[in-house]
């Protein structure tokens, strides 16, 4: 077991983790942050995407112990005082989610994209989402939602 300090959605935590515990299970099972979900076991689908020190990572591919000293943002950390942030609002307005299982990862991947490139083209948005699989929407409304915030 290892002692790990991390900050999640601005709340500090001191945890004792098994070295093999993946960050996604630390978030879900230790901290009860169920908004980050698991969709695959090959780092392919992006459903578990979170921000680690501001950059998007697949939390199924990061060990909890590797996040020692890091700041993490999950989907639960985006809305302020119960109001959706502009990206979440755009997903709602553009019908960019159906079942909603990929949505946390999509929103966080998009957050990271817009931080790096505030006005991406449609093609840039599509390529930035290559690591995030949605099976419901055919992606167009997701791309449009991100585009609406970018402009």
């Amino acid at each position: 077991m290892r002692n790990v300090s991390l900050t999640v959605n601005e709340v500090p935590y001191e945890l004792e983790l098994e070295p093999r515990e993946l960050l996604v299970y630390v978030l879900r099972e230790r901290l009860g942050l169920n908004g980050t979900v698991v969709g695959c076991d090959t780092s392919s689908c992006g459903a578990c995407t979170v921000l680690l020190d501001g950059e998007s990572v697949k939390s199924c591919t990061v060990l909890g112990v590797q996040a020692d000293g890091c700041e993490i943002t999950t989907i639960e950390g985006l809305a302020q005082n119960g109001s959706l942030n502009p990206l979440q609002e755009a997903f709602h307005e553009h019908h960019a989610l159906q079942c909603g299982y990929c949505t946390s990862g999509m929103v966080l991947a998009a957050t990271s994209l817009l931080a790096e490139n505030p006005s991406p083209s449609e093609e840039q948005i599509r390529h930035a989402l290559e690591g995030n699989i949605c099976r419901c929407t055919g992606y167009q409304n997701i791309v449009d939602a991100i585009g609406a915030v970018a402009r």
């Binding site: 093999r20 299970y25 879900r28 099972e29 942050l33 169920n34 908004g35 980050t36 979900v37 698991v38 969709g39 695959c40 076991d41 090959t42 392919s44 689908c45 459903a47 999950t74 989907i75 639960e76 985006l78 809305a79 959706l84 979440q88 997903f91 709602h92 307005e93 019908h95 989610l97 159906q98 079942c99 909603g100 299982y101 990929c102 949505t103 946390s104 929103v107 948005i125 599509r126 390529h127 989402l129 290559e130 690591g131 995030n132 699989i133 949605c134 099976r135 419901c136 929407t137 055919g138 992606y139 167009q140 409304n141 997701i142 791309v143």
Partner: protein
Amino acid sequence: MSAPTEVEVGRIVGAPVERKEDKKLLQGQAQWVDNMRVPGMVYLGVVRSPYAHARIKSVDVKPALAHSDVVAAWSGADIDEEWAGSLPCAWIPTEDTNAPEHKPVAVDKARYVGDAVAVIAATSRGAAEDAAELVEVEYEPLPAVVDPEAALADGAPIVHEQFGTNRCYTWTLEAGEVDRLFAEADVVVSERYRQNRLIPNAIEPRAVFVTPIPATGEFTLFSTTQVPHIARVTLSGVTGIPEAKLRVIAPDVGGGFGSKLNVYAEEALALAVARRLGRAVKWTETRSEGYLSTIHGRDQIQEIELAATSEGRITAVRAKLTVGFGAYLQLVTTGIPLLGAWLYAGSYDVEGYSFECTGVFTNTVPTDAYRGAGRPEATYAIERAVDALARKVGKDPVEVRRLNFIREFPAEITSGLTIDSGDYDACLDLALEKSGYEAVREEQKARRAAGDSKRLGIGLSTYVEMCGLAPSAILGAIRYGAGGWEAATIRCLPAGTVQVLTGSTPHGQGHETTWSQIVADRLGYDVDEVEVLHGDTAVVPLGMDTYGSRSLAVGGVALYHAADRIIEKAKRIAAHLMELNVEQVEHVRGVFQGPESSMTLKEVAFAAWTAHNLPEGVEPGLEATYVYDPPNFSWPSGAHVAIVEVDTETGAVELLRYIAVDDVGTVVNPTIVEGQIQGGIAQGVAQALYEDAIYDDDGNLLTSNMVTYLVPSAAEFPRWELYRTETPSPTNPLGVKGVGETGAIASPAAVMNAVVDALAADGITDITMPATPERVWRALEEVKA
């Protein structure tokens, strides 16, 4: 059939109301099954056969039991006494169908890679996985068979020895003088197509969570299922738990596409382990495990023949399918190809019709419903064959389609059913206009003339499909084991809001919003005043669940009729309170209007609740249930156009544009309908260009995870260009038709017709799906040689 009269579409029905479901999903507050945890629960680990076909000589669970976090471990034989019945197959299409017993854990023989052979219960997920690897199983490997045609050959390994054959059944349908029409035909087209095996990949993996109450023998099963009601009755049969003591809950479910229209071994297993241990039990598949334990789709070999005049007028269709069912029959494995049985003449008027389907056991994961279920296959075969006919008679595919369209509705089609409504020319006209069809043909010619290595292709799919499953009497006639009705309850609460109980079970489709719109429109509530409850057999005891594009066309119509019953009762109460005759009161969207006075429905609901002054014989409360059995399927149709560019140097296919015109009858929420069509098209394009579940000859799944099985991302798709025409269905008062599967049904044919069209001048007449660069390049090399 009567024309719709009462709903004035366009007030709330017809409006793009924003989804009520989104806010929790966007903030990570959904209730997924895998979120559920209680103290003392155990995690299941399933030991799966690494062999496609093997006798199980012995299973030693002792090494697993030695693991400090393992609570129990059982072989198939150890747990066999838990089963009161086989895992269910609800559709036995013929009297001589070979239907094998299907145990949740195999005892004597493993029949596919992934077949469960032992089970672990441990106090952590990691321990369950670790301990599963400690179980020692001695196998005697047997020869395996994976190809459905090879499985029918003499001397093939037999999956279920007791039948002496791998044939499950042969089912036929014939109408008209087919042999004569073929003998007299000027032209006969004979085509052979393969429907690639697909993995549905609902993005939420399957999960099961069971909580028992040992003292009373009650169990609550949370499952990632599309069918909690069907699961309750069938799992009662598998486990012997009385239906009344089994509550099934489908909480938030992350997509299904047919893969969660099933009753799985792990659901039965979790119940059995919870019963044995008296503890809560959880199982969540990993994605790779899901590829070996959740159903696959398609896997058909299709032979289709058209008899036609030299002009291209089709007189008869003959279709013959050989379908890979995998190692066992899951819930509706047998019925999937038959859902296309009536559709192999597509939107065309023919005199003769012949269909034959042979289902075959192979040493592979069972196939079952995947979005479209039988109808994408039928559409693909007829739409590809019509293009082949056009090439043969030297006409444009548009012209041949126009020559053959069904134009009189309702249309009794030769295969025996009745299409409710449609206007196929209107869809095609709009699709041609929006795609700039003629201009694309001109550019195609110009590129050919210039010897451009990048060929342009344009492909059509003028489909019709049958959905909204289904009239119960028809289901009975084709030997399905249940009905096709749906139930809805409306409960007007005293404080001014309304509850809807629906037997439909959404998993991304937005029923809460759409159902609220229907109730708001009919009863005058605000959309936000409607609460829609679903997916819990204790809250909504009566239901047939969600699949086959049935929710709106059956469940939504049930809701419409339940509103009628509310209005009827409320009108009696309102008349009584206003001291009028019922005939003097008129109802308009939640207001009961008398000559000089009026009452709102909310006032009536309160009065019905206090029950201080009700008319003679009227029960307190304002609640009504309606169970609707549809008189017909619903028949969406449309014209889809794909425009592709094929690089003849690399074999790469790029989908440049995709134009879809769909007629899905009356639309309740256009935004949600567009979303359904977009997602469906994406899955169909994926079948045409990317996805393929590949087995080697020994029965190993080579595409065994999300790295090797190519689910496309946003980068692989163009923008979807969607348009609609509208012929309301005359069979229901809302005029609605199903929409969930149309995109996946229409699009593989459109894309592949475009690919073949691009390469037709090179002498290519077929590419097998998916049209990967390698396949296209090899086909080009072959015609050069």
